[in-house]
């Protein structure tokens, strides 16, 4: 088939595509990406792949060590907890609480935060600067502290934790999106589009937004790891998801009662938490590196 393009055409890849190219060039980021994708798949398939239900109690197999241990059984690959529940099943089911719910909270917060941030970024003057100062202040207060306050008002329960985490994440999105818009707003290409008579809506969605996607992606990874850690921390303090839900932080807190004689009850949920957060952080880090590179090159 003959080459139909007559002229030399250089298509600049879209910012999102640039991001992807950058990630694929970095082996660490790729490993992190695969780990994260694997955890996501396991989470979606957890009802299918986990050997038991998260709440089945095998009263004859209480605190069974992992399979590779001399006393372990292959039936309970990672051992059982103090009520005889299979740890592997619990960790798999727990991913819904410890990854699925944070993901949901992050996306919700992203939608709300980006809308407000974009609106604020497009508006001018005092309004915008007041908002900025207020957000600066709000953001300096740790998200966990804010979540604790909200839980104190609403009481500890899964849906309240979701509300708390979502509310806490929104200002972060507003802040980063607002700043990104603010910076892009007066660049030449935006001004050019404006002069061309584009509507505000078009300007917002088709001109500026594609150019700040990498910022949004970075903010999402950052918010996701915050959400995961905060939900786990609340669970650990007994103020989050309530028993018997196999949330990882709650499992960790429970494991402390027998940690010295049965350390495996503590290792598995902690490791799951660590791997998830690490993969997200590595991804976020490489996104940040990509953004910096773009700024340097521009």
């Amino acid at each position: 088939m003959p080459n139909t393009s007559i002229y030399y055409q250089h298509r600049e890849p879209s910012p999102l595509r640039q991001l992807w190219l950058h990630i694929t060039a970095n082996p660490f980021a790729m490993v992190a990406f695969y780990i994260f994708a694997g955890i996501m798949v396991l989470m979606v398939l957890s009802p299918l792949v986990s050997p038991f239900s998260s709440e089945t109690q095998f009263s004859d197999h209480v605190l069974q060590p992992p399979a590779w241990h001399a006393e372990g059984q292959i039936r309970f690959l990672f051992g059982t907890d103090d009520l005889g529940r299979d740890l592997l099943s619990r960790v798999l089911h727990g991913s819904v609480y410890s990854l699925g719910y944070p993901l949901l909270a992050t996306l919700l917060a992203a939608v709300i935060g980006i809308s407000i941030g974009a609106w604020a970024g497009m508006s001018q003057g005092v309004q915008s600067s007041t908002l900025n100062h207020l957000l600066d202040v709000l953001l300096s207060i740790p998200s966990l502290l804010l979540a604790l306050v909200i839980i104190a008002i609403l009481g500890p329960a899964l849906h309240n934790v979701m509300i708390a985490i979502t509310l806490v994440l929104i200002p972060q999105f507003i802040h980063s999106v607002h700043n990104a818009f603010y910076e892009e707003r007066n660049k030449e290409y935006v001004v050019a589009s404006k002069l061309n008579g584009c509507t505000r809506w078009y300007l917002l969605t088709r001109v500026i937004f594609p150019n700040i996607t990498s910022v949004v992606v970075m903010q999402i990874t950052f918010a996701l790891s915050t959400a995961i850690l905060d939900i786990a921390a609340l669970g650990f303090l007994g103020l989050g998801v309530q028993a018997p839900a196999p949330e990882w932080g709650t499992m960790l807190a429970r494991s402390l009662d027998q940690v010295y004689l049965s350390p495996w009850t503590m290792v598995l949920p902690g490791l799951a938490l660590f791997l998830t957060v690490l993969s997200i952080n590595v991804l976020g880090d490489s996104v940040r590196a990509a953004i910096q590179e773009r700024i340097r090159n521009s």
Partner: protein
């Protein structure tokens, strides 16, 4: 123990002299003469008259206060304490007590006693809960649950001062349990002079916060959730305690308590995890003491709330719980599955078959009869602390949660900090609660009246809120009966009635354990009451 890396640290930061790191064997005086007890929770107050919590009793009664008489469990007799002798008159409706002379009250920064203990202090201590007009009656809530539910409040007509060191107790009727009740940990003697001083200062509530007593230890400071600090009472009327300082470190987590005992941060701990200690204590540094402390752990339903006002529902739930599994899993098999209210050690106990064997099918059937074919949702309140009768209520509630799910009942677990938990229980905010009872004395009545009677409902101690005139009538019959065999039969009748009504499901009778470092001796664990550090001492192998 921890000195090695610290020497490095100090060397790096070059803060202090290094010589302190070299003499490992010589403990500084406060460490060798003091004792650390890692308690399981905060006391409610520093006056055992106000509550029934074992945590409060353990922290206060035997340490800060004395009673008129004590009970010697080994000899099974009453022994003199602040009263040197006593005698019954008028067919047992009047008791005369001769009081001990030269008993000094504590000297502290907030109170300097001007006189030793006398009859006024006895009157003050008893009238506080007896006389509703007493200026201190309503201080601290004015509930006095022990005195109300044990019947002491109705038994004593008045207390009369005869002279400085003689008092008379006038009773409404003869009662053989009077002396036994006097010897319990709740009947402590407070300082009347201190009461007057606080009243003059306008801070009466300090009497339960900055306590003054005659006991072997003087209160020093209390930091909620962290420490209670006592020092020895230099003018104590019995022999001086061996330790100069007694510190309660509040450590609610059982596992942490055990680890701290192993590392030597705690000298004595209550409610140890026995199995785990045995596996960890390879150097035999730890000794475990146990006491036959008649106790019962049970699952109480709030019978004021639907659907638990329906006996069928309660019976169904009783059938739904796999109690043998609980004994195995929670108590490690170290407890007996309770068949009724009375423990095996009681003389009134008679072996009966289990009223509620584990039978989910039966439970579903009963629920259908009661009109709940699809089950319902409820909450189980689980204590946040360990007690002698229940080493892990949270875990127990999770076991039960799974059992209940099988019959279509969805249970939520609720827990608060221990004192908040008890306050809310007394207000009846629960659907059901996992709690228990430790006997104050050996009488079988003590296993029914304080737990299930109408009087206990009024004092907020009846966790079932169950008030049944028929049951109360049976109790009165049983306590007025003098012939033991007859009495035993009556109690059997009561047992059957309770089991049939099922306001609560008895779970287990267990022993009370306490573990301490091998170099600690003399911590007393009496069967009916709190522990005492009066004779505790640390054995030192230092050459003398």
């Amino acid at each position: 123990m921890f000195l090695k890396p610290v020497c490095l640290l100090t060397a790096v930061t070059s803060v202090l002299i290094l010589s302190a790191c070299n003499d490992n064997n010589q403990l500084p005086a406060p460490l060798s003469e003091g004792l650390v007890y890692c308690s399981e929770g905060n006391p409610e107050s520093f006056n055992p008259q106000l509550g029934t919590s074992g945590t409060t009793v353990d922290a206060t009664s035997a340490q800060l206060y004395d009673r008129l008489i004590d009970y010697d469990a080994e000899q099974q007799q009453f022994i003199p304490a602040l009263a040197t002798q006593w005698q019954a008159f008028d067919q047992g409706t009047r008791y005369r007590f001769k009081l001990r002379q030269q008993v000094a009250f504590h000297q502290t920064a907030w109170f300097q006693p001007s006189r030793p203990f006398n009859a006024d202090d006895v009157l003050f201590s008893f009238n506080r809960w007896l006389n509703e007009q007493h200026p201190y009656h309503d201080v601290g809530g004015g509930r006095y649950p022990f005195f109300r539910s044990s019947g002491l409040m109705r038994l004593i007509k008045r207390v009369e001062r005869v002279d400085d060191h003689t008092v008379d107790f006038w009773l409404n009727q003869a009662d053989s349990s009077f002396l036994a009740n006097l010897a319990t940990d709740f009947n402590v003697i407070l300082a009347a002079e201190y009461g007057a001083q606080l009243l003059a200062q306008g801070t009466p509530s300090d009497i339960d916060r900055l306590p003054i007593g005659t006991g072997p230890f003087v209160f020093d400071e209390f930091r909620k959730d962290f420490v209670i600090r006592y020092r020895n009472h230099p003018d104590y009327w019995r022999s001086q305690p061996h330790i100069t300082q007694l510190v309660y470190v509040i450590t609610p987590n059982a596992n942490k308590r055990m680890l701290k005992l192993l590392t030597g941060e705690c000298d004595v701990i209550p409610y140890p995890l026995i199995d785990e200690l045995a596996q960890l204590d390879t150097q035999a540094e730890i000794e475990v003491a146990s006491a036959v402390n008649p106790s019962l752990s049970f699952w109480a339903f709030n019978t004021k709330r639907p659907p638990f006002d329906n006996p069928l529902v309660r019976q169904a739930l009783a059938h739904a719980i796999n109690r043998p599994a609980i004994i195995q899993n929670i108590y490690g098999g170290k407890a007996r599955l309770a068949s009724g209210m009375l423990p095996e050690t009681s003389w009134a106990y008679s072996a009966e078959p289990q009223a509620y064997p584990y039978d989910p099918a039966k439970a579903i059937e009963l629920l259908q009869q009661a009109g709940y074919p699809n089950g319902f949702s409820m909450n189980i309140w689980a204590m946040p602390v360990q007690r002698a009768y229940n080493p892990n209520a949270q875990r127990m509630s999770e076991l039960m949660q799974a059992d209940l799910a099988r019959i279509g009942v969805q249970a939520d677990i609720i827990s608060y900090e221990w004192n908040t938990f008890r306050q809310r229980l007394a207000r009846g905010e629960h659907d059901s609660v996992l709690i228990g009872w430790v006997a104050d004395n050996a009488d079988p009545d003590n296993f029914f009246r304080p737990i299930l009677s109408c009087a206990a409902t009024r004092s907020g101690n009846n966790r079932t809120q169950w008030c049944d005139p028929e049951f109360d009538q049976l109790l009165v019959e049983a306590i007025t009966e003098t012939e033991p065999q007859q009495r035993k039969q009556l109690y059997q009748q009561i047992e059957n009635y309770v089991m049939q009504q099922a306001p609560l499901v008895p779970i287990a009778n267990s022993l009370r354990f306490q573990a301490h470092r091998a170099d600690i001796q003399g911590v007393e664990l009496p069967p009916y009451g709190g522990l005492s550090f009066r004779k505790a001492r640390r054995l030192t192998d230092a050459p003398l």
